[in-house]
């Protein structure tokens, strides 16, 4: 049914909107940008939180006694709204001053400075003094985990993180604890995040408007390693980084900066600049072989085979099912994430080839992700205590490093990755967006299973931003049913279906972050603009279509790796180096 249109007056504008529209959106239609703080609505994704609690967006509504929050007040027919009267402006300023009165106000040293929404509001409201300062500050905890740093003194209680963690991701690691002035956001009973169900997906960090939730910073450690003459430092860069890094240098969202990024990494002093996309292609070889193995056993009537097979390249997703679905650890693919496959190959095949001892090597990853930091620390990815990937730094940290190193990013020339671990196909590139792993897998699985060449490489049916998508592909008579979910809440629904044996799919791709890695917790902040995510995804598909080779199994260096070292997918050596096992982490 078409929604009824209503007319209202906002300042000097007459606005027509469908019934149910909030004042905030109606005002935006006529170019009135009402300030917000707690509100977030990443349209097209499931990230939405409008607790109407910060009260920054208050407006005057004629006939109403008190001010109304524009974010959560529905427009009504004939409503008269004033968004910038003295009463409104004073109220907003007082609210901002109150928030600042319980804030450390250490902008100069805050990791969020320049990117902080509270700082921006203080500037916008012309806050020039702190009339309410000098009182008690709420005492809240600090915590440094392997991925996320919580500095809850800075928390302004917007509850975006709580909403994302509970409603979107259904992880339930963060919630409001205690009440009144001492309310804080924390795991239940104010326990540590590291002792909670947290998956380190980092979506809380991605939506935090202030410096309360930030990434664990490894840039200083990296700078020391780069200066150390005894170390050979190599870097791998995830697919989603190249389409987002430019934003940190004022470029349009969706700008592809692969070549500049490689140059910048060389400028920073890395000895070798490689590409995680290479490992993505390798993942397809292993995961694809696993799909084909399980499928052919299934088609041969083997009832014990676990289907659907779920992708396992997202470490937050791995944490999620280890916490919540420990009874189903046999379902996901055993393939390691591309980050870990890369580390493992770099410190074995490549190191042997280059005759560099393992302990001299430092493998660094540049990731859009915070869970990858945690993944580096997992014991099963270490050899005699030496990790396959030494540490991971986020896209945001890389941008900071580039700025610190006096590199004029925009004017850098393009350059290419080093070989062989810098060689990749279009299939590897699209790993960075939801649906990308599935599409890459389909390209290879189809050709290997049917023995035919694909006529159309693009599987558009698996693309898009819908929380859950499905498609079926004709593998020469056999209809392969695939599903794609992004956001852990969508994943949970699927897993529950699988648990109840109501799931009809053969293969399912899951990424923890809404949008996939392009929307990862380590990316430049989207500040609630979902077009940023869409632009990044489109850029990845552009990068893919510009590639000469677009199927993983056609990557000549991957072929060489199997010939020289691994034998074939799922071989014993491949199992040892490229596969893993899962743990029951339920609390």
């Amino acid at each position: 049914m078409e929604k009824k249109e209503i007319t209202l007056q906002i300042d000097r504008h007459t606005v027509r909107v469908p019934e149910g529209t909030m004042i905030l959106e109606a005002a935006r239609q006529v170019g009135i940008n009402i300030p917000t703080l707690c509100h977030i609505n990443l349209e097209g994704t499931c990230i939405k939180s409008t607790p109407a609690s910060c009260r920054i967006c208050v407006v005057e509504v004629e006939g109403r006694k008190n001010l109304a929050p524009a974010c959560a007040t529905r427009c009504t027919d004939g409503m008269v709204v004033k968004t910038s009267t003295l009463r409104v402006m004073n109220a907003r300023k007082v609210i901002a001053e109150l928030i600042l009165s319980d804030h450390p106000n250490d902008c100069l040293t805050c990791p969020k400075s320049g990117n902080c929404e509270l700082q921006a509001l203080a500037l916008r409201f012309n806050v020039r003094e702190m009339p309410y300062s000098g009182g008690e500050l709420s005492l809240r905890k600090k915590e440094v985990t392997s991925s996320i740093v919580r500095n809850m003194d800075k928390c302004i209680f917007c509850r975006r993180c709580e909403s994302v963690c509970n409603d979107v991701q259904t992880v339930g690691a963060l919630g409001a604890v205690r009440r009144g002035f001492n309310t804080t956001i924390a795991p239940a009973f104010d326990k540590k995040m590291s002792e909670s169900e947290c998956t380190y997906c980092g979506q809380c960090v991605a939506v935090c408007p202030v410096g309360a939730l930030t990434e664990r910073d490894h840039t200083n450690r990296l700078l020391e390693d780069l200066e150390n003459p005894d170390k050979v430092v190599l870097v791998q860069t995830a697919p989603a980084v190249r389409v987002a890094l430019g934003e940190s240098f004022g470029m349009e969202p969706g700008s592809i900066v692969t070549g500049k990024m490689v140059s910048a990494l060389r400028e920073l002093g890395f000895d070798y600049v490689f590409d995680t996309d290479f490992a993505a292609d390798l993942t397809i070889m292993e995961e694809g072989a696993e799909v084909l193995d399980r499928l052919s056993r299934f088609l041969d009537g083997d009832k014990s085979v676990a289907l659907p097979i779920l992708t396992s390249c997202c470490p937050a997703w791995v944490n999620f099912f280890e916490h919540y679905f420990p009874d189903m650890l046999n379902i996901p693919s055993t393939a390691r994430s591309p980050q870990q496959m890369f580390g493992s190959i770099a410190k074995s095949y490549w190191a042997e080839k280059m005759k560099i001892p393992r302990e001299k090597l430092v493998v660094v990853s540049i990731m859009p992700c915070l869970a990858k930091k945690y993944e580096c620390d997992r014991e099963e990815f270490k050899v005699d205590g030496n990790p396959d990937v030494d540490y991971s730094i986020s896209t945001r940290e890389l941008a900071t490093l580039i700025k610190r190193a006096n590199i004029d990013f925009a004017s850098l020339p393009d350059s290419d990755f080093d070989m062989p671990l810098g060689a990749s196909t279009g299939a590897g590139v699209i790993f960075g967006t939801t649906g990308g792993v599935m599409e890459a897998a389909l390209r290879s699985v189809y050709e290997i299973y049917t023995g035919k060449t694909l006529e159309k490489i693009d599987f558009e049916s698996v693309r898009g931003m819908e929380g859950f998508r499905k498609a079926s592909v004709d593998l020469g008579g056999f209809e392969l049913k695939v599903g794609i979910a992004h956001g852990l809440g969508n994943a949970r629904k699927l897993l529950e279906e699988i648990r109840q044996q109501r799931c009809e799919y053969h293969v399912i791709e899951i990424m923890a972050c809404p949008g996939g890695c392009i929307g990862g917790g380590g990316q430049p902040l989207h500040h609630g603009h979902s077009n940023v995510l869409r632009a990044r995804a489109e850029a990845l598909y552009r990068e893919d279509s510009g590639k000469e080779i677009r199927k993983s199994h056609e990557n000549p260096y991957i072929q060489q790796l199997y010939e020289e070292y691994l034998g074939k997918p799922l071989s014993e050596k491949a199992h040892h180096l490229l596969h893993t096992h899962y743990f029951n982490k339920s609390l």
């Binding site: 109150l98 302004i156 919630g175 009440r179 309310t183």
Partner: protein, 635 residues
């Protein structure tokens, strides 16, 4: 026996009325004579208050002693011992009332029981020492109908409290209980019931004063497979206990009203949200729900109709904010008890996302009687826009502390001076705080204001749930404001900025002022911030929380000014502003004060006048209390 039809109900009522006849009769007439078995009275009843207050003063032991004593005297056949709900005159508890002569004994102890049995129940002689003494005339008053405390009261919501045994459904039925529900099911359509409530003019007694009929209508209009009726029994105002008393003294009136509401709005499930700190009310409700279910007044197909209704009790942990209906619903759902923005109203999307009608206990208690006596009768009581009566918990510096119910439109003066018996110890009236922590302080000039929802709001306070705390000249108004704000800061859920941080900053400023560190600029800031909080907070709690500050600033600005400018507190409540001095002309140098000073702040030679060192003095008052020569004064 199960009540299956209206005829069954009438039969039971007839028998029950006979049991209650003695009490009803004594309620109507004033018995001059004292009745006793020896003076020819064949049957007596002893009503013992079983409310929380009297129970705390051993009323259960009193009842036990009565039972023992009459058994000992072998007069058990002729004497009924009935534990009732609260009589309201809590100041004088424990209260024991003898029927049929209606003798009202106060401050009864378990040890008094043998004497009452011997003298009164058997001998027919009143025990003068346990009678109420009129504070003005000094006369003993035996029948509560003659006491000023009761004379101006009109008990509608409290009609059965202190009269029936709350754990006996028959006594409720005898008082026309469940007749309203029967009428609704047999005679009235759903809309008709709602119309009657609308016509009666009943407004929500929980604080908001929203028209009850309209609220019912909103819920009734929603289409849903499931609707709920919720009784808000999360009474949280400090000092208020009207809802508790109703549930303890007349739980069936709440149950009946919930069923009626369920019928009117189309809900078959009721939930009572009650704080776990009310164990007695919970127990009485439980008993009542069980009895009503056993008798067939709850459950499927009530009185043979196709309407069924059941009630469940849900416990709250005692958070003040959970009295706000959206917070209450979240709490019942097992979520954090904090409010969300309305709309959507609970009537649209409430408990479990279903249309939910939330009414307060006192509101509900009015419903059955409105239907049995007619909406016109109810609408004839009260003022133009506030109909019926209101229960208040009268407390503070007043002679008669207790629970009272007066028609809307009664003035504050009548309540304080007639019902309340004036200010304690002959002190001067200073202010009355109504509406609980969100209310405001009213002064002398408001005393003749007729109490109703709109007048109190216009005067800068509010009805709230009916807390009424009277203050005298010894009360410091800055401290009073600070006390209430301390409560709201403690009870804020912390969700919205103005309430979470704003109220905290208000409280800090008030603390500063009472500590003598305030400035005139602080007073301005209090007013500005207070108004901003009212204008921007999310829920009713936040929007009203600065009221105690703003109303005292309005009405007692001079007192604030004295605190910040002269650093004095006229009520001598703000310790930091006090100065203790020793009058050298009176002091004989006995050294007692110096020896007792915990801070070594008094020096002097023996037999010479002593002095207090202000920089060391912690203003504990010990010296003044110890001085035998009244040589120490404070100002």
């Amino acid at each position: 026996m199960k009540i299956l039809t209206v005829q069954d109900l009438e039969r039971i009522r007839k028998t029950a009325k006979e049991v209650l006849a003695l009490r009803e009769e004594s309620n109507r007439h004033v018995e001059a004579q004292t009745c006793g078995l020896a003076t020819g009275c064949p049957h007596l009843q002893v009503l013992i208050c079983g409310g929380t207050g009297c129970k705390a003063s051993s009323s259960a032991k009193i009842a036990e002693n009565f039972k023992k004593e009459i058994a000992k005297q072998q007069i058990g056949e002729k004497i009924d011992i009935v534990t009732t709900g609260c009589f309201g005159f809590c100041e004088k508890g424990p209260i024991v009332k003898i029927i049929p002569d209606n003798t009202f004994y106060i401050h009864v102890t378990p040890e008094d029981v043998p004497e009452i049995v011997q003298e009164h129940l058997i001998g027919g002689r009143k025990l003068e020492r346990l009678l109420y003494q009129d504070p003005v005339s000094g006369q003993h008053v035996s029948d509560s109908k003659h006491m000023d405390f009761y004379r101006k009261q009109m008990r509608i919501a409290l009609r059965n409290c202190g009269f029936i045994d709350p754990e006996n459904i028959h006594e409720y039925i005898a008082r026309d209980g469940y007749q309203a529900l029967a009428d609704c099911l047999m005679k009235y359509g759903r809309e008709e019931v709602i119309d009657k409530i609308k016509q009666s003019g009943l407004r929500g007694r929980g604080g908001g004063g929203f028209p009850t009929g309209l609220k019912w209508e909103f819920t009734a209009k929603q289409e849903a497979d499931q609707k709920y009726v919720v009784c808000n029994a999360d009474e949280g105002d400090p000092g208020a206990f009207m809802d508790r008393s109703i549930m303890e003294g007349d739980p069936h009136s709440v149950i009946e009203a919930m069923a009626i509401c369920g019928y009117a709005v189309g809900a078959n499930k009721g939930l009572v949200y009650i704080r776990a700190e009310y164990p007695l009310a919970i127990q009485r409700l439980r008993v009542a729900i069980q009895q009503a279910t056993e008798m067939g007044m709850l459950g499927p197909c009530i009185l043979g109709s196709d309407f069924g209704f059941e009630i469940e009790i849900r416990y709250g942990a005692g958070a003040f904010v959970c009295g706000e209906e959206t917070a209450l619903i979240h709490s019942m759902e097992g979520k954090r008890g904090e409010p969300t923005l309305k709309p959507p109203f609970p009537a649209e999307s409430g408990y479990m996302g279903k249309p939910t009608n939330v009414n307060n206990v006192e509101t509900l208690a009015n419903v059955p009687v409105i239907l049995t006596k007619g909406p016109e009768w109810f609408a004839s009581i009260g003022t133009e826009k506030s109909k019926g009566t209101k229960v208040f918990a009268l407390a503070g510096k007043i002679n008669n502390v207790g629970l009272i119910e007066v028609p809307m439109g009664t003035t504050l003066r009548e309540v304080i001076y007639e019902i309340g018996g004036g200010i304690k110890n002959g002190k001067k009236f200073k202010a009355v705080q109504t509406g609980g922590p969100s209310g405001g302080c009213l002064t002398e000039k408001h005393l003749d204001t007729p109490i109703d929802f709109d007048n109190l709001l216009a005067a800068g306070s509010m009805m709230g749930s009916g807390g009424m705390i009277v203050m005298d000249e010894d009360d410091c108004m800055v401290s009073v404001a600070r006390f209430y704000l301390d409560f709201t800061v403690e009870e804020s859920c912390g969700k919205c900025t103005p309430c979470r941080i704003g109220n905290k900053r208000l409280l800090e400023t008030l603390n500063k002022i009472t500590e003598g560190k305030g400035t005139e600029k602080d007073l301005q800031q209090l007013a500005v911030l207070g108004r901003q909080i009212k204008d921007t907070a999310l829920c009713g709690l936040g929007q009203t929380s600065p009221n105690p500050v703003l109303s005292t600033l309005d009405n007692f600005y001079d007192e604030y000014l004295e605190h910040v400018r002269d650093h004095t507190c006229r009520a001598k409540q703000c310790k930091a502003l006090l100065t203790y001095t020793i009058n050298p002309e009176v002091c004989i140098g006995c050294t007692l004060c110096a020896r007792n000073c915990p801070a070594d702040a008094i020096t002097g030679f023996p037999r010479k006048p002593h002095i207090i060192l202000p920089e060391k003095c912690i203003k504990c008052g010990m010296c003044m209390a110890r001085c035998k020569f009244h040589a120490i004064s404070v100002c």
